[in-house]
Amino acid sequence: MSRFRRRYGASPLHALAHLAAFALAGFALLQLVDARDAGNVLVWFIGAVVLHDFVLLPFYSGLDRAAQAIGGRVPAVNHLRVPAGFSALLLLVYFPLILGLSTPKLERVSGAPAGDYLGRWLLITGALCAGSGALYVVRSRRAAAKRPPGTSAATRRASS
C-alpha cells in the first residue's frame, strides 16, 4: 500500500476527481452566492434534502412498517403499498395543483380555467384503491379455494 493511500484512504485518482468536481461545483455555487436571494437558494438547497431524508423517507417507511403488520389470507401489504404509493407519488409531484397553491396564478396567466386537480387526484386514488381491493378479493378467494379447510391464516403465513 502506498504512503498516499495509507494516509488519505484512497488512490490519488480519488482525490483528483473530487478536487476537479469541487472546483466546477464551487464555480457554480459562487455564481449563486452573487445571484439575487442567494440565502433563499441555500435554504432550498439544504431544506429540500432535509425534508426528504428526515421527514418524507421516515414517514413513508413508518407507514410501510405499519402496513406490513397487517396479515390476511394473502399478504395484504402490497395491495396497500401500490395504490397508496402511487397516490402519494402523484401528490408529491403535483401538490401545487392538487392543493390549489398555484392554480390561481395559472388561471391568471393562461386565461383558461384550471382543471379540478383535487377532484381528479381523488378519483385516481379511488380507482387505484378499488382496483387493488378487487384484485385482493380475487386473490384471497383463489388462495382459499386452493387450501384445505381448517388451516389458519397464521400457520399459512408461517409456512410461506
Binding site: A21, L57, I98, L106
Partner: protein, 420 residues
Amino acid sequence: MKAPPGPFRPGFWRSPLRGPWLTTVLGTLLLCGVTVVAITGFLSHAAYEPGIGHNGIVDPARDLPLGIGWPAAPAWLYGLTQGLHVNVGLVTVPLLLAKLWSVIPRLFAWPPVASAAQAIERASIALLVSSGVFEFATGVINAQNYYAFHFRFVVAHYYGAVVFVASLAVHIVVKLPVMVRAYRERGVLGPLREDLAATRPEPPDPDGLVARAPAAPTITRRGLLGFVGAGSGLLLLANVGESIGGPLRPLSLLAPRSGDPGPGPNGFQVNKTAKVAGIRPEMTGDGYRLVLRSGDRELRLTRAELLALEQRTEELPIACVEGWTTTQHWTGVPLTSLADAVGAAGAGELLVESLQASGTFRQVTLTRTQFGNERALLALKVNGADLSIDHGFPARVIVPALPGVHNTKWVAAITFKGTT
C-alpha cells in the same frame, strides 16, 4: 466509539432487498434518466441564445461556454428536447426516490468519517443529493407555476444543474467499480428471476447496504422495480399529453396546462394573457404602427399595410420551456421579407421589442439562423382568423424550433443589426 441508538445501529435497517445489486440497477436507470434531463436542459439554455443581445437571464459574462448555435429546423426540435426534459424528468422522480431509499443506511454510517478520502466523498455526496433534490423540486414546481421561492428560477436551476453534473460525474468515477462488481457477481438481470420464496438478502457488503438483521421479504426485487417503473409510467401518462397532444391530451389529468382554452381558431393554450402582460386594447388599435429599423432607416407600417405584403402560411409549434406544446397554422409576413423592406437583407441579428412595458421577454434578439429561416414569420393570423389579443394581436413572431417565450407577442418594433 459505540454507535448512537436508532438508525446509526446496523440492526436498524431491515429491508432484505437493499444491497449493492439493487442500488446498482436503480443507479443505472437513474443515470439514464438524468443524462437525458441534463443534456436537454443545457440544450434549452443554448436554444435561448443567451450570448446575444439581452437574451441571457444567466449573466453571459459568468456563463459557461455552452452555446452551439441553435438551429431553426426541424421545427419540432425545441418541443422534442424540452418535452424530453420535462417528461423524462417526471419519469425519473420515482427512480430518484427509490435510489435514495436504497442507500439511506449510508447517511447514518458510523463512525461518520473513517478517513480523509471518506470525508471528501461524503462532502461530494452531500452536494450530489442536495443539488439533485433541488433540481427536481424546483423544476417540478416551476412547471406548475408555483413560485414558492424568491430566487430567479432560471439562474438557480442552471447553476444547480452544474453542481449536480459535477458531483454526479465524480460519484460515477468512485462507484463504477462497485457497480461492475455487483453486475459481475449477481448478473445484470439475474435477481429479477427470483420469486418471493427465492428472494434473499445479498451477501454482506463493506458499505453496509445489506441489512444485518433482515426482515422476511414482502416483495420481490422485480416487484419493487415494477412498482417504481409503474410509478414512472403513471407520472408520464398524467403529463405527456400536453407535450405531444393528440388523443393523449385529455388523458393528462394532472398536466398544468390542461385547462380548456376555449373554442375557435384562437382556442389553444396561452402562456401569458394580454392583461397580465399589461397590454391595453388602445395600444393595439388604429394608432398601432410596426416600427422597422435598420441603421438610419426606419419604416412605420399599419397592420393593413402588413397584410398587404406577400403572406405565407406555416404549420409551426409553440413549445414552452415548461414542456407543453401546441401546433397551429400561422399566416403572416416572412421575417426575411421585412429585412428586405428596410434594406437589411444581410443583417446578422434581429431585435424584437414588444408593446409590453416590462418583463424578462419584452425584448428578444434572434440569430440570423433563426430569423433567416424561410418559415420564420411575423404572424398576423392564426388558423385563418386574426390573432386574438391574448395570442399577440396585432402581430407576433413565430420561428421554427424557437423556445416559446422567444416568439414575441404584441410586436412593437423590429430592428435589424450587424452583418452576416
